[in-house]
């Protein structure tokens, strides 16, 4: 049993053990951005309504705006800053970059983290599974289609599958003559 109004917690953030002091009412979002020096995790409402602040705790996507940091103590936290390996981008990052799945980029960290969790359990996700998994993450720029394709592309890269999005995704559809022209 613990009684506390300020707290010190240890967690593993992006593979690095950290021990941090913070007021007990601070959420993981605040602690990551303001105490851990990891502002890559963004926020859009702080009420659990937009998905922007999604991070992984023990591999599961959660809304960092609604999780007290103290409740994450002893757990493994992953943020967008931990996605790349050395200077090498994670396939999700490469796919999002090359396919234009990040426009303003503000929802991107949350999208990437939720997608990462999905790919761990679903190495070959269908479009419907991606849409369901990411359905709590809002994006105002892309219309989502590119994000779905980027996740599929990254899944293929991780599987070593040469599949890539069709040319239409890079150049647009090819206008055809209307056979039914009267």
């Amino acid at each position: 049993m613990t009684v506390c109004d300020s707290a010190t917690a240890s967690f593993v953030v992006n593979g690095e053990a950290q021990t941090i002091a913070f007021p007990v009412h601070h959420t993981l979002l605040e602690v990551l951005r303001e105490r851990c020096g990891l502002p890559g995790t963004k926020h859009g409402c702080e009420l659990g309504e937009c998905g922007t602040c999604s991070v992984l705790v023990d591999g599961e996507p959660v809304l960092s705006c609604l999780l007290l940091a103290i409740e994450a103590s002893g757990r493994r936290i992953e943020t967008v800053e931990g996605l790349q390996q050395g200077n090498r981008l994670h396939p999700l990052q490469r796919a999002f970059a090359d396919l234009g799945a990040a426009q303003c980029g503000y929802c991107t960290p949350g999208m990437l983290m939720v997608a990462k969790a999905l790919l761990r359990t679903h190495p070959e996700p269908t479009a419907a599974q991606i849409e369901e998994a990411l359905s709590g993450n809002l994006c105002r720029c892309t219309g989502y289609g590119r994000i779905v394709q980027a996740v599929q592309w990254a899944a293929a890269m991780l599987r070593g599958d040469p599949w890539r999005p069709p040319a239409e995704a890079f150049f647009g559809a090819t206008a055809t003559d209307d056979a039914g022209t009267s």
Binding site: A97, G172, G180
Partner: protein, 868 residues
């Protein structure tokens, strides 16, 4: 980060029409070399920062000794402030200071004609959310606690909730300026002889439509950080689309010389027009930083973002159009009534925009336009993606769909018969450029199987078609001046690095990538060789900002000019060194070489060394000023653009007649982009426009709750949250098929036109038209709610008019119209009875046409070029 797609070149060649290739011609000083980067799906230059979390948004900035600001906003919709009690707030631990209206008395506003805002209310609040006090504290939570503890004593005034109420309630006035009462602005324009046009019509159609307001909802909440420096200098970082306009507003309100204020626009987490005004919080945070001598940050809550608004005006519209039996239009009369909210913002421009662009798609031989914008006690409306044009575009395209049914003409065919002529001057004096609209219509008609399927699908399934057109940059700046709208500096040195400086602001649309790609293309280097410095008013030449779809075209032209000047200097030096004519040199593959003997040449870095040795330190500049528009009448300043983009869309919908619920199944959309600088980014803009358009058509509403007046004067935003303001989720989007229609426009850099806003326009009417095709009812208001659909279906069943929508347009005295003879009537662009007709050349023009600049330049009236 690199042009990887260059070498891999995807699965098929890019859709470049080599024979009719203005782009190639623009770079034709590169003999025989087609663009390598332009037109290719290269990875955007800011992609890596955005997928790694390194991109720095304004709220990510943390500085030593930083303090936090919170605004106390009005909880009264319309009231005089009788008193402000700070006693309790002062006792909150950590509080450092307060500001109120008296500390920032200077009014400001984005348009010089409506500088009606105060950073903090002076004595009157005009909507729930209007800022009154700013409080700073050592933490954001303390600032918020203190803000909650501030007590404001309000003396309530009558709350005005709608245009109709504003028209009926001249007193109390929300503002002491404007035309009269609570009417902010009226417009009345008559182009050509509409009476004769209606007389000649074989079919007359009248319709009334309503388009509810909605907001941008960029995922990033606005934030700003102000950092005071010595000598009354200050730097303000902000999530703004328009650092230049913020700069001007700060100088004005803070009373500091502009040269001592530095505004840096951070990369924007989405804008869509919502970050184009200078905002209260940007001014208050700067003032507070100067007072405290410490950095101050302000980050708005989501709710506050809804109060900043500046989004889509709610507009009531009435359209009357005459047609011949063959579907050609003889005349049109459009009336619009805009609910402006509590302040001017861009509203005067928005008002003109509701009537400016119908003529860009279809030839209207005679056209009359009347508009009114009223003040109401709601957050101010302004520019959102499509600024003032999606509402009338929706009305016009549904109206045309109805006309097609009355006349028995296929809706696609009806539009094809009316398309405006490329290169013509419209009835309202807009100079058109290339028009790819017919190709767009053909693409979506073919893609959707329109000709076999339209009108023939089972009950409940339907197809709808609509078109649109949009500016490629507003022809005139927000404030009258004779200077370029966009500037680019290029600095080159012996390292081979090319630093590009420009005031443009990246808001997610890819403007950084367009800028870098154009310079890289012309200098024949890789994107990775370029370092960008953008949106910093101290370091970068002025660009007016990311609005009106102006960046690709205007920044693009400035970049082309700066890069071509750099290339010319380098070419001269290399030509001398290699002993070949400069014109024979090619810049490509990071080399400068002889076109006739490619082995003979220099690496790009060595070529720069040659130039630097010969000519000294290398800097070039380019700038762009749009061509002068032919219109000279009052109001002609809104609408002109160097050229226009065109879009057509077909939407397939499935309607459940039992519930009124509907699903959008597929969207086919074709956009005349002139030339895509980067097709991946262009497609992203199209898909994002479809998304935002569907959101507006299906569910998004900036709606308000008026409590029963006998009990309360409250007028509150109904749903200022991400949960209740409905932005479509992953589960709500249909499949989208996008076509890039490329026919390069000579007015665009590399032939490029805009793509950020235009593709939204046809989406809303295409959905409404598809619903009609599915179940035979008209929903003449947006968003199309399932309960409205069910009501219309019930009406149809009972044999009543199968339509839901507004029936009346308010009685407004628009006054005598300004009569402007059309080009076909032999007009000269001026109004017949405009008193300004007699104005001396070279004097300032209040309507903001560029004619005086050209005349002054020609006649050497240099003094006329300096305007306040």
């Amino acid at each position: 980060m690199n042009d990887r797609w260059d070498s891999r070149s995807a699965d098929r060649a890019p859709p470049v029409d080599a024979e009719n290739d203005v782009a190639a011609a623009t770079v034709a000083r590169q003999p025989g070399i087609a663009p390598r980067l332009i037109g290719q799906p290269f990875t955007r230059v800011d992609a890596r920062a955005k997928v790694t979390g390194q991109a720095q948004f304004a709220d990510d900035i943390a500085l030593p000794r930083m303090t936090y600001l919170k605004l106390v906003r009005s909880t009264a919709a319309h009231a005089r402030i009788r008193g402000i009690d700070l006693a309790a707030a002062r006792r909150v631990p950590g509080v450092l200071g307060f500001l109120s209206g008296r500390d920032l008395p200077q009014p400001y506003g984005i348009l010089p004609v409506s500088e009606d805002e105060h950073a903090l209310a002076l004595d009157t609040v005009r909507y729930v959310g209007d800022p009154i006090v700013a409080v700073a504290a050592t933490s954001e939570e303390q600032a918020h606690e203190a803000a909650l503890a501030v007590i404001i004593d309000y003396q309530p005034l009558t709350t005005i909730a709608s245009v109709e109420q504003a028209l009926d309630t001249p007193e109390p006035r929300i503002h002491q300026y404007g035309e009269q009462g609570n009417i902010h602005k009226t417009v009345s324009l008559a182009f050509g002889d509409t009476a004769a046009g209606f007389e000649a019509a074989e079919c007359l159609l009248e319709d009334t439509f309503f388009y509810e307001g909605n907001t941008h909802l960029a995922l990033e909440q606005h934030a700003a950080v102000a950092v005071p420096e010595d000598d009354e200098r200050i730097t303000v970082y902000s999530s703004t689309q328009t650092p230049h306009y913020v700069h001007r507003a700060l100088a004005k309100v803070l009373g500091l010389p502009a040269a001592r204020i530095r505004v840096i626009a951070c990369t924007n987490g989405g804008g869509f027009g919502g970050k184009t005004d200078p905002f209260n919080h940007e001014i208050a945070v700067a003032k507070m930083a100067l007072e405290l001598g410490r950095p101050v940050k302000v980050t708005l809550s989501r709710e506050e973002v809804f109060y900043c608004h500046r989004g889509r005006h709610p507009v009531l519209m009435h359209l009357r159009t005459g047609f011949r039996r063959d579907g050609t239009i003889t005349a049109q009369h459009l009336r619009t009534a805009l609910d402006g909210g509590a302040y001017g913002s861009y509203g005067v421009a928005s008002t003109y925009y509701t009537g400016a662009l119908p003529t860009t798609t279809y030839h209207l031989p005679a056209y009359r336009f009347e508009a009114v914008r009223a003040f109401t006690n709601k957050p101010p409306c302004g520019p959102k993606r499509g600024h003032g044009t999606p509402q009338p575009r929706y009305a016009l395209e549904v109206h045309l769909d109805k006309a097609a049914h009355v006349l028995g003409i296929d809706p696609a065919e009806l539009r094809l018969r009316n398309i405006a002529s490329a290169g013509s001057v419209t009835t309202n004096w807009l100079q058109l450029g290339t028009i790819g609209l017919a190709k767009c219509i053909e693409a979506v008609v073919a893609g959707s199987g329109w000709r076999k399927r339209y009108g023939r699908l089972r009950h409940g399934r339907g197809l709808g078609l609509a078109c649109g057109a949009y500016l490629c940059g507003a022809g005139l700046p927000i404030y009258w001046n004779h200077m370029p709208q966009s500037g680019v500096h290029i600095k080159l040195d012996r390292s081979g690095n090319v630093a590009v400086f420009c005031g443009e602001a990246e808001i997610g649309q890819g403007s950084d990538s367009v800028l870098a790609a154009i310079v890289a293309e012309i200098l024949g280097i890789a994107l990775a060789d370029i370092r960008l410095c953008v949106a910093d008013t101290d370091l970068t030449p002025v660009d007016l900002g990311s609005y009106s779809s102006r960046v690709t075209l205007m920044v693009g032209h400035a970049a082309v000019e700066a890069a071509e000047r750099a290339r010319a200097v380098i070419a001269k030096a290399v030509a001398a060194q290699l002993g070949v004519p400069a014109e024979q040199l090619v810049f490509a593959e990071r080399r400068v070489f002889d076109a006739r003997d490619p082995a003979s040449g220099l690496p790009f870095a060595d070529a720069v060394v040659a130039a630097e040795a010969r000519y000294g330190t290398l800097v070039t500049a380019g700038s762009y000023t749009p061509p002068r528009a032919p219109g000279r009448y009052r109001g002609s300043g809104v609408g002109p653009s160097p050229t226009y983009s065109y879009t057509a869309a077909v939407i397939e919908v499935e309607v459940d007649p039992e519930t009124g619920l509907f699903d959008v199944e597929h969207v086919w959309i074709a956009h005349d982009i002139g030339r895509a600088i980067n097709p991946v980014l262009a497609l992203g803009q199209i898909e994002g426009s479809v998304y935002m358009g569907l959101g507006e058509a299906m569910m998004e509403e900036q709606a308000f709750r008026r409590l029963p007046p006998r009990l309360s004067g409250a007028l509150v935003h109904k749903m200022p949250s991400m949960l209740e303001y409905k932005s479509p989720s992953f589960q709500d989007m249909p499949e989208i098929t996008s076509y890039l229609i490329e026919s390069p426009d000579p007015q665009g850099p590399f032939g490029a036109k805009e793509v950020g806003q235009g593709p939204l326009l046809p989406i809303i009417p295409a959905l409404a038209n598809a619903v009609f095709d599915a179940v035979g009812v008209r929903i003449d208001q947006v968003p199309i709610q399932p309960d409205l659909l069910l009501k219309a279906l019930a009406a149809a069943e009972k044999g009543r008019e199968p339509r839901i929508g507004p029936n009346a347009f308010p009685d407004v005295d628009f006054g005598e119209p300004l009569r402007v003879p059309t080009p076909q009537q032999g007009g000269d662009g001026r109004a017949l009875d405009d008193p300004r007709r007699q104005q001396a050349p070279g004097t300032r023009s209040a309507d903001g046409t560029m004619s005086e600049r050209e005349q002054a330049l020609r006649k050497g009236h240099d003094a006329a070029l300096t305007t306040p």
